[in-house]
Amino acid sequence: MSTIFSLSILQSALELGCIYALVALALFLSFSILNIADLSTDGCFTLGCAVGAMVTLAGHPVLALFAAMGAGVCSGFVTAFLQTRMGVPSILAGIIVNTGLYTVNIAVMGFSSNVNLFACDTVFSLAKEKLSYGWYADWYKLLIVLVIVIILGVILSLFLNTRLGLSIRATGDNEHMVRASSINPLFMITVGLCLANALTALSGAILGQYQKSCDINLGTGMVTIALASLIIGETLVGKGGMPKKIAGVILGSCLYRFIVALALRLNVPAEALKLVSAVIVAIAIAFPYLREKSAFYRQRSCNRNACRKGESAHVSH
């Protein structure tokens, strides 16, 4: 094992896992709780990265994170507006916004397809200065992303148990009930999507500062990856309260990164990585279903054998 996984690979997998966990949390909010497949995630991730990168370039790496979240809220609002006020089906609304965002993202990056941040300060370089002594000197990146993810996870968990959070959860759970109990489902969808997209964009901004660059195609396939993390997480923790579910999502994202790191370690060529991702996602999504199926087949064959035995006993009498 130690030959396949060196500590540094483990470390970077954890770092990326925590960064992408924010997108997984966003999908947890929109997909699991609100029951909406928000396909604008890809574009919104790049939007967060682009906005974050431009503000970082201007010399405000911390402000960049908040600016990215603001951009995410706007993107989420447009998606929500299309589906709640304009009668656009939710999947289409996501696709439309995603398409539009491509141009917006290019424009944000000053009509170039990539921006690099090698020359300027990022939250990571700022932290490196502060944390350069002691045992944690090598772990400052992980420390930052871990702190961010834990803080947001706790906030999300607390939020989902407030009256507003409960209303959002009910909107995705039972529409009839919501309409009969004085909750405005349109407002709840809007709030939910704004929050989810803020998380997505934040994730993009952190990734941009982490790898010191932003590329227009950064977000491609993000929905699939986040969905895989989400489903791995849900399969891992099973039933439970909100904190447990949220912890599961974060764990799932880290686990997904381990699997990708393992694939890379096994010399899978970089071009094949998307295919590997797709296969992992398909397996992760199919796994709970297949497990149920296999349990049924086992039980059926067990039952048949028992019947057969009973029959032969009957005949021999």
Partner: protein
């Protein structure tokens, strides 16, 4: 008090599927009135309910509830003062949320001001929920942390009833709310309904297909056919009415026999 003034609603106008669901319906319910509605299939009973709850806006007419014109009031706004129970016990509660969380949602109606959005369920609320659940006598007060999806249909319907009346509504609409339950549970939920409705003096409108219930429950009986109210009886005249009389009246006024494939003539 509920006042409905010549309300009409036509679905799919101008197509082959055109259906006049409500045809100049007028109805006045006094405070504390408990009326039952019977009628044939497609008579407009549920449509009348949906007109009151704001599921759609009516084509013409006016709906006034408690002195407030709610004809063009949005559904989620008017549901603050309307309690609505569906026939399907699954429709009234959120299955993946706990009993406590469901009740907190129902209690939102009582909340005023925007600060209420970020409030969490307090210990005081929990105590109140617990006391109310104990009234159901179903042992639910000890299962408040369990998801509602684990409850039986009867338990869910009883919980929905509790939630709909937690903050006293101006009107309670019961759309055959015991029809999908087994007879014993249905009786229990019905007894509970009567207790809550009469105890708190709630104005109530209920659809039933049980002719016995139509006469025994509440203080007024309405019969609907073809989107109109064809028969309205209350007081002494109602007390003397038998099920056969009721069917007779229907035939005389609607010009046909009461044909409802789920009608129950006796229990």
């Amino acid at each position: 008090m509920l006042v409905i003034e010549s309300v009409s609603k036509t679905f799919n106008p101008g197509t082959v599927n055109e259906k006049k669901a409500l045809d100049k319906v007028s109805l006045t319910l006094e405070d504390g009135d408990f009326a039952t509605i019977v009628g044939s299939n497609g008579a407009g009973k549920s449509t009348l309910f949906h007109a009151i709850t704001g599921n759609f806006y009516v084509d013409e007419g006016r709906i006034v509830l408690g002195g407030e014109d709610i004809t063009y009031c949005k559904e989620h706004v008017r549901s603050k003062v309307i309690g609505h129970l569906f026939q399907d016990p699954l429709k009234g509660t959120a299955p993946h949320m706990t009993i406590e969380e469901n009740m907190a949602l129902a209690y939102l109606r009582a909340a005023t001001g925007r600060h209420a959005y970020f409030s969490r369920i307090s210990a005081k609320d929990k105590k109140k929920f617990r006391e109310q659940l104990a009234l159901l006598d179903m042992g639910l007060e000890d299962r408040m942390k369990q998801p509602v999806g684990l409850l039986s249909g009867g338990q869910r319907q009883a919980l929905t009833l509790l939630m709909a009346t937690m903050v006293t509504p101006r009107i309670l609409l019961l759309d055959e709310h015991t029809a999908a339950l087994d007879p014993a549970t249905a009786d229990k939920v019905l007894a509970l309904t009567e207790k809550i409705v009469s105890g708190r003096h709630i104005t109530c409108l209920t659809v039933t297909h049980n002719m016995n219930q139509a006469l025994s429950l509440g203080n007024r009986t309405l019969m609907m056919d073809g989107g109109r109210i064809v028969f309205d009886v209350s007081g002494k005249a109602r007390e003397e009415l038998t099920i056969d009389d009721l069917l007779e009246q229907f035939k005389a006024r609607a010009g046909k026999r009461l044909d409802n494939d789920r009608i129950l003539l006796s229990r």
